[in-house]
Amino acid sequence: MISIKFLNDLISQTQSRIDNGEDINVLHQEILGRKGLLAHALKDLPKLSELEKRTVGAKVNQIKTQLIKMLPVINPEHQNIIDLTFPMRISPHGHEHPIEYLISKLYQIFNNQGFVDYISPEIETEKSNFDALRVPADHPARDMQDTFWTKNKMVMRTHTTAFQHTVLTKLVPPFAVTQGGKIFRAEAEDATHLSEFHQFDFFAVAENLSFKDLKGLLMHIVKQIIGDDCLIRFRPSYFPFVEPGAELDIQCSHCQGVGCKSCGQKGWIEILGCGMTHPEILSSHGLDAKRYFGIAGGIGIERLAMAKYAVDDIREFTKNDPRFLEQIV
């Protein structure tokens, strides 16, 4: 029997092997050679009746012609023609996603400062996400973060800061840990809001840590990430889990501080909130708050990426469009 399907498959398989960069001469031998696959497939041809030969033969010839065209025997003389003036082809493969790239870069930079990664879950208890961080139920601070709840009464973490409770339960000071990843807020999506986005938290507890250390650390980190010449603003802010609390803004790269759509006309983009860990958080986890001090902060990765790469719509990060990914990392 002669299988036309086999012959058709032979064409597509040959094409993919050519695409894989296999040597044409070797392929020619293997497929069109005397003991090649085509010869093997056609070994029953002589047994066919004249009528069959006419119909099948026409098809076989057509396929054979096509294969010969795909696998030309390259004349060694012609192989020597080299033309280097052709335009280059850029391979589109292998680009990092800017969000994951920044998280990985932050891990690295914090790691150089002595921090280690501490993996904590994205689905958290209400205690970790809120109560242990001094955000009790019906506290206005919960308004900052519209929360997704699961039906089994867990919280889709609204900030990576949720890892502090676990860290304080499991580790003994001094420690310096980081955690980056997805966070969730029940918000309608627009050019500046997503319901799933990313944050990177750092948390260190030791004796003799002060606001000065926090500021020094962040100045270093931001300059490493954004560049030495970026303008930074460090201003007071409120988060229930820190006291004193601060936010760090960088100058908007779209408008150079004049005010535009991306920065809400402010000229500055807030990229992180931070502060000295509230003494109640340390003492409620059994630490002497007169002896130990904590520094903590959370970096909004999408915001950071928007500022760093001058992206004006946060939804770009969710599309995974190759034309976007190839531009950044």
Binding site: P174, F211, P236, M276
Partner: protein, 771 residues
Amino acid sequence: MKFVYDLLKIKASTPKETAQLLTMHTVEVDRVVNGIVAIGVITGKIIDVQQHPNADRLRVVTVDIASGMLDIVTGAPNVEVGQIVAVAPIGAQVLSIDHKIKSPVSSQAQLTTIKPSVLRGIESPGMICGADELGLSHVVDSTLYIFPNDTKIGVPIETVINSIGMIETDDKGTAHRPDLLSYRGIESELAAILDKPFDRVLPVLPNKIKNDQLSVQIQTGECTLLIAAKIDNVKHHKSPPWLTDFLTKNNINSVNLATDITNYVTLIEGHPTHVFDAEKVGNTLIARKAKPSENLVALNHKTYRLAPSDIVLGKHSVALDVAGVIGGIDSKVNDNTTSIVLTCAVFNPASIRHTSRRLGVRTDASARFERGLSYHSAINGFNHCLNLILNESGGELTALDTKTSPITVIPKIDFEPNEINAILGLSLSDSEQISILERLNYRMSSNIITPPWWRNDVLVTADVAEDIGRIYGYDQIPSASTRFANSTNGTTLMATINDLRHAAVRDLYEIVTPTMTSSVFEGAIEIANPIGNLRFVRQSLVTEVLRTAEYYSRQGNDKYNCFEIGRTYRLHNNNVIEKYRFTACVVGDPEIAKSTIGNILHRLHINTSKIHFTACPQTNSASVKYDAVAHINYEEILIGHLIVHNIRGTQFCVFKLYVDKLDEYRDHHPKYQSYSKFPCVNRDISIIVNQDVNAYDLQQSIEQLSQLHNLLDASPTMTLFSGLESISNQKAITIHLSFRSYERTLTDSEVNQLLQTIDSMLKTNYNATIR
């Protein structure tokens, strides 16, 4: 909250500068409006427009400014007879505009004085102003500022343009400080920053005026202070101009005198008060829990069904007001009211927030109450209101009653200058610290500090440290470079994830897909309050990775091969099980996908010769039927899956890998191994075997041949030609072999002998036909 710049008693010289100080020392300002910056500009009506004889782009415009006529040369193209425009006569000051940049207003305001000038031979005694020259470019998007037709002419533009300097603070940053939602609160901050004197008198509870016409009762622990006063013989209901002017500037409509005063005091002092028609209140005003199924028609004409968790003010039988949230329409004061009851209270902030959210009503009152207003703030607000009502309404105070359960005292905090310095990393002297605290109206006696009565957010030394730090200036605090010490080591898992990313991005696009999904599965975690149909937490990345690859492949991207490393979830015995998964999609031939897998595993230092694929039958219950599925195994351990899915003629190969398994089986500390210095000999064997022969078995059998011991350079690879099955249930395989010895160069005959050994093994064990 929005603050009208003109109404602030303490401020820097411009709205912008004031906003800058607040942002850097107290609370972030979201928006600043500079208001009219130009000085001496008046309105004028265009009577005539003539083309300038010597310039195509200029016109000579005759304007009536009431006191006379001016012939002004202008470059504005859209001037028309009858328009009322802003005219800057000689001596007026306007913003100088660099027309090339066209956006100077928000930065440094530079005023230029108008002088007589000659433009192409015609003298111009002034100019017609554009919005940007007035400082209003954020208000109107037109070069020429045109007033409505009925605007009075010859008057200063400030009197006809409703655009005033304004500062809007970010409410997120004031969740702990209700005092910042008031003019006095912001002024006290500005006073501290600018080091100007400022104080507010400590409020004292007014004396009771016993009268059986009005008493108060507290019947719920959620209310800790209730004050009410009855004012009879109210004569005036119309607010004086200063009051309506204040409210108008703050975008609040004037209602009637008593209501206007409560609104005014809410903005000025930051504590909401409420006025009732005394007739509706009766003799006793009660703060109590709402009864089940009690209803109230509120001031916004909506009917609210109350719950026992809500606090109400009213009588035993009737609720008149949803406490701290919204008043009732039935008891509101109107122009015929002669007796009013003024009331003020302190409620549990959590309760107010709960009610406000449950009813979906957010008001100026609820925003302040839910931040936790204090006893002193209530008394202060009440006293201010009462005085104003008595002064302006002509009424008389006939009854006043108060109830309070434990009187809140202002906290006393030990002054710990060393700890404050330790927190901030500063070395301020005691007197420097005290001086800053005094600017903030703290009081000191021996070593005890008392925060100002309007600051109930200050409770511990850390709070005091923040106050000192921010007034001193966060910008002034030095930076230290510290290396952080650890009692703990990182896990290898994070390192593996990181290495896996770097291995995969060499060939694939890295993507991020959503965690919340619409597809349900066994053990899915369900979101209680989903957005749209994204009701579940993903258990697998396959669906979204495949969808993304398919979408962009259809968009004409030749080879959109991608991967994601993400977390997946399911419920097991009511526990949330979280796993890291690597999932990738390669478009086209499965062999390409497999070589991608091989490359990634190889880069992770996983011994790829131990990896093999076994066909995996699909369960009938699977929601999606794939064309082929294989297990990816490390020795006998399952480490992932390979799926081939054909969508409209294109083959998509999806593979997922269990990151924890990769972490377990990789060599975390690869070491150098010496390698052969002798050449390699490559040979192929082409065979035809039965369809059911397993390629991995073939590979293993060859590797286990004792004659080949130490002579195979790498595991044999294979190329398969399918399709022969329709002939005779067979498949054609080419086995690629490479031989190399560690000790010598292999000879041709030696290699041929090895090939014969393999041939005969294949014939015997697998019934193979050698081609």
